[in-house]
């Protein structure tokens, strides 16, 4: 499928078609999907036929059809479940920084993952942290929903002012189902990110944290006497940017990343640090496949 989009390039789409979202936990979906369910025979509702291939269990051959058509078809008795894929984007103003911006990067990432889900018939839902509790966002399923999903993603804009914990709590209350949640955020919350992740973990979701940082944050090129203004709360920090201070900043950043990693690993959460200047293709093929989210 060669279609151009601001979020996904045709080449990437082609490569993503061959992929599949996997979950480390098997979840029960609402509709059948292309996944085996551990609950065999629970639903005997006829679903479909498929051609017999040598090696299939002969017990499931539809002999009536064979008698009529003289061809072997296999009845799909096994219930196959769909997967709930949630994309959760931190749309705070801090995500609007970076070149390209962290927010755009997060949207691209979720578009890619969402596309994989759509292709595999999974249920895809993409939300922002600041989405009000009462409003539900559209769910997408099937390849044909791609454009709707992309339109939805395009409509998302940064600028929400909500703490991570509050947003995560609202998300959990809105979406009671289980599934995979990919949380794209910079985790820069002065109140801490631990509570927010705690809400997601408590729901027994398969949580993937994509920690998005911009090059400006990873290696700030500042100089001189500066008054740094926090874009979210207007908090100020007066610094004199010189070698020693920048070195100290990098130490602090490394400590921050290490703490986030440790927190996630201890709680079975997959934590993936990313740089917003990296091409999305590399991330999908490298980091996410290694992280076990894609196959």
């Amino acid at each position: 499928m060669a279609t151009a989009s601001t979020l996904l390039s045709p080449e990437l789409l082609t490569r993503l078609e061959a992929m599949e979202l996997i979950s480390r936990k098997i979840f029960r979906g609402r509709m059948k999907g292309e996944r085996r369910s551990p609950r065999k025979g629970q639903s005997v509702e006829f679903a479909d036929f498929r051609n017999y291939v040598p090696g299939d269990d002969l017990r499931f051959v539809d002999w009536n059809t064979y008698a009529r058509l003289d061809r072997l078809f296999l009845k799909m008795f096994l219930e196959e479940e769909d997967l709930h894929f949630y994309g959760l984007i931190d749309a705070s103003r801090s995500m609007d920084f970076g070149q390209p911006s962290k927010f755009l990067f997060a949207k691209q990432l979720l578009a890619a993952l969402g596309f994989v889900g759509l292709v595999r018939g999974d249920r895809v839902k993409i939300e922002t942290l600041g989405q009000p509790l009462g409003r539900t966002s559209p769910a997408f399923r099937g390849r044909r929903s791609l454009w709707r999903m992309l339109d939805h993603l395009e409509s998302l804009a940064p600028g929400e002012n909500i703490s991570l914990a509050e947003g995560a709590k609202n998300f959990c209350l809105r979406n009671p189902g289980k599934g995979i949640v990919v949380f794209a955020s910079d985790l820069m919350d002065k109140a801490g990110y631990e509570a927010a992740l705690g809400w997601l973990i408590a729901r027994d979701l398969d949580v993937y944290v994509v920690h998005v940082l911009s090059p400006e944050e990873l290696d700030p090129a500042l100089e001189g006497d500066l008054r740094l203004v926090d874009c979210e709360d207007g908090d100020e920090a007066e610094i004199t940017a010189a070698g020693p201070l920048l070195a100290r900043y990098k130490q602090t950043l490394a400590g921050f990343l290490a703490a986030a990693r440790q927190f996630c690993v201890r709680r079975g959460v997959a934590w993936m640090p990313t740089n917003s200047s990296e091409p999305i293709e590399e991330l999908v093929h490298g980091c996410l496949r290694q992280g076990g989210l894609l196959r």
Partner: protein, 656 residues
């Protein structure tokens, strides 16, 4: 000892400077104005600078340290601008005259680099001490004074005036400089502005090698003598170099030189004698401290050339270590004899001895009326003209002897003729009358002379002067009151030659003729081969048909364009050496300029460190230090150190 201050800035500049420290303090209260920059989150930055906040007390102290350091820098800069200094005498008064000696002796190097540089340095030091509003002028003096800068209150102009002074090779005379100073410093000497007369302080920066100034009224001038030079000054100078023909063999030439050691120690001096740049003789001698040595060189039969005598000795003054002398080719004096006929006179003027001195041309009195005579007489073609019983209409440009006639020059006249006068006295001191015995000379008839003022009688008789000589402009006129012979017709017969004296058959007569030729004919050779002092004007003879001559000097070439033929006064004789006057390719005249001045060569300080100007004794300020010791450089350096310290502190502050 408290320093004194020199105000370098005007009041408004000071007020701007004074506003800086409060501004710094105010800036510290207002904090540093930082450039605002929006960032995604200050979360990590706050964590990074948390450590700084922990020790905020120390932080504040350090910030204050910066403030104090900055204030200290400004304070040091202000202190430096106020130019504190010590030991420099504060100049009192409002008008100053700086007389700076730039004569030859000031080139002495006993004070490094030279005495003149030291004098200039001290003068600049004095100028720096002048309060604003004080006026001063700068005068340099050697044998004459030169105003380098008239009265001004601009230190810059005065300093430039001092810097412009260059060393000369001239002798020294303070009188001229004092007169210049007095003329400019005492405007009250002219009647109408007497009220504005203001006292002025005269600083005489010199080594004191000049005569005391007598008969001089200081008026409003208050002299201060600043002696330059040290007692360790040593110098060996050539004081004389002259050439003379050998007494017995006139074709042989000898050179004589006199050297004097003005140093405190005996010295060994090497001498080199060069003829036209080629060494022809060398000598080495030892001269005792404060002693003199004379040396003679036999030159052989040298007809012309330039002699250079070079003395090599370790001394402090170089200008008198070389002396020059010009050997002029022997030139025959050009003598004109105007006579209606006088055999004996013609004979004595044509002897072998006379022929070696002079070329005598004999013409009848009618020659006086010709244009050729008038032109040559006016153009100084003749050195000596003898008028025998005739007289010109006007006096020629030459030395003259009138025989039996009275020159048409003012002052000369003759009394009526007297028979048989008795010669009673001869003046043997005069060169003309040397070796002349007139005791055996009888006179038949003579006219006693009336001698003009300034003249001297050479032969006196009982009736009056018989031979007298008197100066006229650059020449001398001699008049003989009696003729040697006369043409007289005795008893109405044919005129016959009658001798009026028996002198012509006496031995003294040819001697007298020779003396005349030597005295009048060779007189000019003195200026040809003699030596001039630097700066002394010299008279250059300009041939009648020349309007352009060049003078080759040791320091260049000058062209002279005399307005009229005759003489030209050449004054560019500033440097020792040989000067050649050229007419195209031929050398017309040569002269040597030498610093043969004992006073300039004697560079030892005055025995008594005092001058006498008029009746005022000016004692030298021997312990006086002209240069004011200032510390503004140190202060500025200190300010720079503090500035570096401030930067270091700041760096430490941001680097935690």
């Amino acid at each position: 000892m408290w320093p004194d201050w020199i105000n370098m800035l005007s009041w408004w500049q000071w007020s701007i400077l004074a506003a800086i420290p409060p501004a710094i303090v105010a800036l510290y209260f207002l904090k540093l104005r930082r450039r605002p920059l929006e960032v995604p989150s200050t979360y990590l930055w706050h964590k990074s600078i948390e450590d700084l906040r922990v020790n905020s007390l120390w932080q504040r102290l350090r910030r204050n340290a910066l403030l104090w350091l900055q204030l200290l820098v400004i304070a040091l800069a202000m202190l430096a601008l106020a130019r504190p200094g010590w030991h420099g005498a504060k100049l009192t008064g409002h008008r100053f005259v700086f007389l700076i000696d730039n004569s030859a002796s000031m080139q002495a190097t006993d004070v490094v680099p030279t005495r003149l540089d030291e004098a200039k340095r001290r003068a600049v030091g004095l100028i720096d001490q002048m309060a604003s509003g004080d006026v001063a002028m700068v005068v340099s003096f050697a044998d004459s004074a030169r105003i380098e800068q008239t009265f001004t209150d601009s230190h810059g102009l005065l300093r430039r005036g001092v810097e412009a002074i260059r060393a000369t090779d001239r002798t020294t005379s303070l009188r001229d400089a004092m007169q210049v100073a007095a003329g400019l410093a005492n405007p009250g000497r002219s009647e109408e502005i007497r009220d504005t007369a203001m006292p002025a302080k005269v600083f005489i920066l010199s080594d004191g090698k000049f005569d005391d100034v007598r008969d001089f009224s200081l008026g409003n001038l208050e002299p201060v003598f600043v002696p330059i030079g040290t007692a360790a000054a040593a110098n060996v100078g050539i004081l004389t170099l002259s050439t003379r023909r050998h007494e017995l063999r006139s074709d042989q030439l000898q050179a004589f030189a006199r050297l004097e050691n003005f140093g405190p120690r005996d010295v060994s001096v090497g001498l080199e004698l060069l003829l036209d740049g080629r060494m022809i003789d060398a000598d080495r001698m030892s001269i005792a401290a404060a002693g003199t040595k004379q040396v003679a060189f036999d030159l052989g039969s040298v007809t012309s050339g330039v002699l250079t005598l070079r003395a090599t000795a370790a001394d402090h003054l170089a200008v008198d270590n070389e002396a020059y002398a010009v050997i002029s080719p022997p030139r025959l004096a050009n003598v004109l004899l105007l006579t209606p006929g006088n055999e004996t006179l013609q004979w004595v003027l044509q002897t072998a001895a006379a022929g070696a001195i002079a070329a005598v041309q004999v013409q009848p009195p009618a020659f006086l009326k010709t244009a050729a005579y008038r032109k040559q007489a006016a153009a100084r073609n003749f050195d000596f003209i003898l008028y025998d019983r005739c007289r010109p209409d006007e006096m020629p440009q030459a030395n003259t002897l009138f025989i039996g006639a009275v020159p048409p020059a003012p002052g000369w006249s003759a009394k009526p003729a007297v028979g048989r006068p008795q010669i009673i006295d001869v003046n043997p001191a005069h060169p003309i009358m040397q070796w002349i015995d007139m005791g055996n000379v009888d006179l038949a008839e003579a006219t006693p002379l009336v001698v003009p003022r300034g003249g001297s009688v050479l032969v006196d008789s009982d009736v009056g002067p018989m031979l007298a000589i008197a100066p006229r402009e650059a020449f001398e006129d001699a008049v003989l009151g009696f003729a040697i012979l006369a043409e007289k017709s005795i008893a109405g017969g044919k005129p016959e030659v009658v001798y009026l004296t028996n002198w012509s058959i006496r031995a003294s007569f040819p001697i007298f003729a020779l003396n005349l030729l030597k005295y009048f004919g060779r007189q000019r050779e003195i200026t040809d081969s003699g030596s001039l002092l630097p700066g002394q004007p010299v008279t250059i003879r300009v041939p009648s048909d020349r309007t352009r001559l060049t003078v080759e000097m040791p320091h260049g070439t000058a062209e002279i364009r005399p307005i009229r033929p005759g003489e030209f006064s050449f004054t560019l004789t500033d440097h020792p050496g040989v000067y050649q006057v050229r007419d195209g390719e031929t050398v017309v005249q040569r002269f040597a300029v030498n610093l043969f001045d004992r006073r300039e060569s004697d560079i030892r300080p005055r025995a008594e460190l005092a001058l006498k100007i008029g009746h005022v004794k000016v004692v030298a300020q021997s312990t006086w230090t002209a240069a004011r010791r200032e510390i503004w450089r140190t202060l500025l350096g200190l300010a720079l150190v503090v500035l570096s310290l401030e930067w270091y502190t700041y760096w430490k502050r941001i680097s935690v």
